[in-house]
């Protein structure tokens, strides 16, 4: 029998056996700690690898190879009343050919022109439409190189591969090298990635359409889910009687928070497009679907934050004769607001990254102009990623990763705001 079992006698805490035992216990403690550390390292390591891979494939899309060419529009014969109709193609062609080494045959001319984006004439036209004074002078224009040449400039094309295995011919490489020698080529930051809408040409494709599509959809999502979510949460938390029906509502809300997003897509497809006859691909429908998805989360967060306001505040208000509504709207809701805002931002961030439901309601279309409102067809960031990922042109590989980085950037920004709010306004009661 051990000492402990004998009544009243003391345990010898300093016996070798006890010491060894304690050592083993501390070791076990440390082991658990190490497992925890390993788990965290695993998760964060994965995150690092993920972001690292994306950055590695995507960073090149943040620059774009351009040729800077001087064009004198004043010497051209352009009808100012019919700017759209002017022969921009020839104007640009003439200007670009001046950079070519010597005279080119007609077929070489074509090949030479393919160094530059085929939309170059439209770019010049746009510039002129924006600033008519360009017509009166000679100025330098930045013309993006076409995607294969952009790839070449970024070192993605191996010059050693046989000519028939590359998208750029030896001749084009030679021309490119001569352009480099002339100092015409540069690689500025690719603002087009943010300010252009989608295009079939990687060198022109940008995220403006997707970003504004996401913006409109999120706006709709916010305008609906925020008031409705708060109203529902207040009702359920403060007013609803506890009965079967409110129980049902509550279970329902919790369940909806975990319903797969693709099911919401099916819902949007059938209800908003099918029954209500709303148009496809528009941010309004995207926003509606997203708001239905965000709503449960928002209600849950709001209820939790209402609950976390100590009842002493409520009692204080009621105690001086405030009605229940007044107590809630004057005191409890304002106090819960920071948490609600945090929850809302996180909910919206989730909505921003949602893909599957948008695929089903057609927000994965090809649209070359940013939407001007909620009823104009558009894409959203995640669906744009989906589209680019499936485009054959090489330039889209890096652009897909870049778009993902942009999306993650937005998400991190939103989360950072949420964390900031949380830390700034966190109350300990």
């Amino acid at each position: 029998m051990t000492p402990a079992a004998t009544n009243g006698a003391l345990v010898d805490w300093h016996s070798a056996e006890m010491k060894a035992r304690r050592k083993a216990r501390y070791a076990a403690d440390r082991r658990l700690q190490i497992y925890g550390m390993v788990a965290i390292t695993f998760a964060l390591g994965f995150l690092a690898v993920l972001l690292g891979t994306l950055t590695f494939t995507g960073y090149k899309a943040f620059t774009q190879t351009v040729a800077t060419v001087e064009i004198d529009l004043s010497s051209q014969d352009i009808d100012r009343a019919e700017l759209m109709e002017a022969n921009w193609r020839n104007i640009v062609k003439d200007a670009l050919l001046t950079t070519a080494p010597g005279e080119l045959s007609r077929s070489d001319e074509r090949a030479y022109m393919s160094l530059f984006t085929s939309s170059a004439p439209y770019l010049i036209r746009e510039a002129v439409l924006k600033d008519r004074s360009l017509l009166d002078r000679s100025s330098a224009y930045r013309i993006p190189l076409s995607d294969p040449l952009d790839q070449l400039a970024k070192g993605e094309v191996d010059r050693a591969t046989p000519e028939n295995q590359r998208r750029v011919s030896d001749q084009q490489i030679a021309w490119y090298d001569s352009l480099v020698e002339q100092g015409v080529i540069s690689q500025p930051f690719n603002w087009a990635l943010f300010f252009n809408a989608d295009s079939r040409f990687p060198e022109l494709a940008g995220l403006a359409g997707a970003i504004s599509g996401s913006f409109w959809a999120l706006l709709v999502c916010f305008l609906i889910s925020f008031p409705v979510g708060i109203a529902a949460a207040i009702y359920l938390e403060e007013f609803a009687p506890k009965n079967r029906f409110t129980d049902l509502i509550e279970i329902n809300i919790n369940n909806l928070a975990a319903v797969p997003s693709v099911v919401f897509g099916l819902l949007g497809l059938a209800v908003f497009l099918g029954w209500f006859g709303l148009p496809r691909s528009v941010p309004l429908v995207g926003g509606l679907v997203l708001s239905l998805m965000t709503l449960p989360t928002l209600i849950i967060v709001t209820r939790a934050s209402l609950k976390s306001v100590p009842s002493s505040i409520r009692e204080a208000a009621l105690g001086v004769g405030a009605s229940k509504h007044e107590a809630i709207f004057h005191h409890i809701l304002p106090l819960a607001m920071p948490t609600i805002m945090t929850g809302t931002i996180i909910g919206l961030a989730q909505a921003l990254g949602e893909t599957a439901p948008l695929l089903l309601i057609g927000m994965n279309a090809f649209i070359t102009s940013p939407p001007g409102g909620v009823m104009e067809a558009s894409t959203a960031l995640p669906t744009q990623i989906f589209i680019w990922a499936d485009s054959p042109e090489r330039g889209f590989v890096a652009r897909t990763s870049a778009a993902i980085l942009v999306l993650i950037g937005f998400l991190i920004l939103m989360n950072a705001i949420a964390i900031f709010l949380r830390q700034r306004f966190e109350r300990r009661w």
Binding site: V157, Q165, R200, I367, T368, S369, D390, P392
Partner: protein, 321 residues
Amino acid sequence: RDQIMVVGSSTVFPYSQAVAEEFANKTGNQAPVVESVGTGGGFKAFCGGIGEATADITGASRAIKESELKLCADNGVTDITEAMIGYDGLSIAHARSAPEMNLTEEQVFLALAAELPDGKGGFIANPNKKWSDIDASLPDFDIIAFGPPPTSGTRDAFVELVMHDGCSELEGMADLKKSDADKWNEVCSRMRQDGPFVEAGENDNLIVQRLESDPNAVGIFGYSFLYENNDKLKAVKINDIEPTFDTIADGSYPVARPLFFYVKNQHRDVIPGMKEFLAEYVSEEALGPDGYLAERGLTPLSDELRAELQTNVLEGKKLGM
């Protein structure tokens, strides 16, 4: 609505995209909304009726079916123009670093079919694991083929153009077709499900990227992807023929199919810019041998066919019912 709405096949999608952008640039009109919903989905949207909410044009990687025509008619879409715009080669390709391969359609069938005739009138599950199991001259590594899912038109075409042909070349299959067409159809259409054939989803780019990392694998996808990724991939020859624009256009490369778009003529006068868009689509600049669609991998039509197409589309020739 002031935009044109184009839906339909994912294969035709990039071409419609290109035309849409060019059209917008040229005319300064709102760019059409182009959505890739698959051929069937396209017809569903297209045949949904007339009016603002429905599509004006749908792309298709096969001709419209009877049932779809009927749906259209039921919904009042009675005036349709069919436009065959060119061919799409289906390439079988693998990494540059892989050894050269040259397959017959029969070999492809033997590699990818679910069941093979056992020579005694019955059928057995496909036993071939390596290419060399089929023919000793083929390389000695595992059969891995990434291909389109059963829901895609590309898969449809592949089955019809390669598997059925390869199947028919096997002994006894021709007879079976006569005696039991259903059985023949089942045997010749089913792709194996035990691993070597990997249904890789609709995303062809993913297949391309995976081929790079796995030189033993082959992938089945549209020719345009091979064309873009020439430096990383090379084609597997089918019946000794390599896919090129020329071999696809003259029909010598066996795995090519026509691509279409369908126009809802009832919308022609109401949707702004629709006529101009159609004109752009069938213009020489787009569809011609040097056109920008060819640049994207579309195999152009012969000159006569193209001329006929242009008149048909511009005049709105009604599809016979």
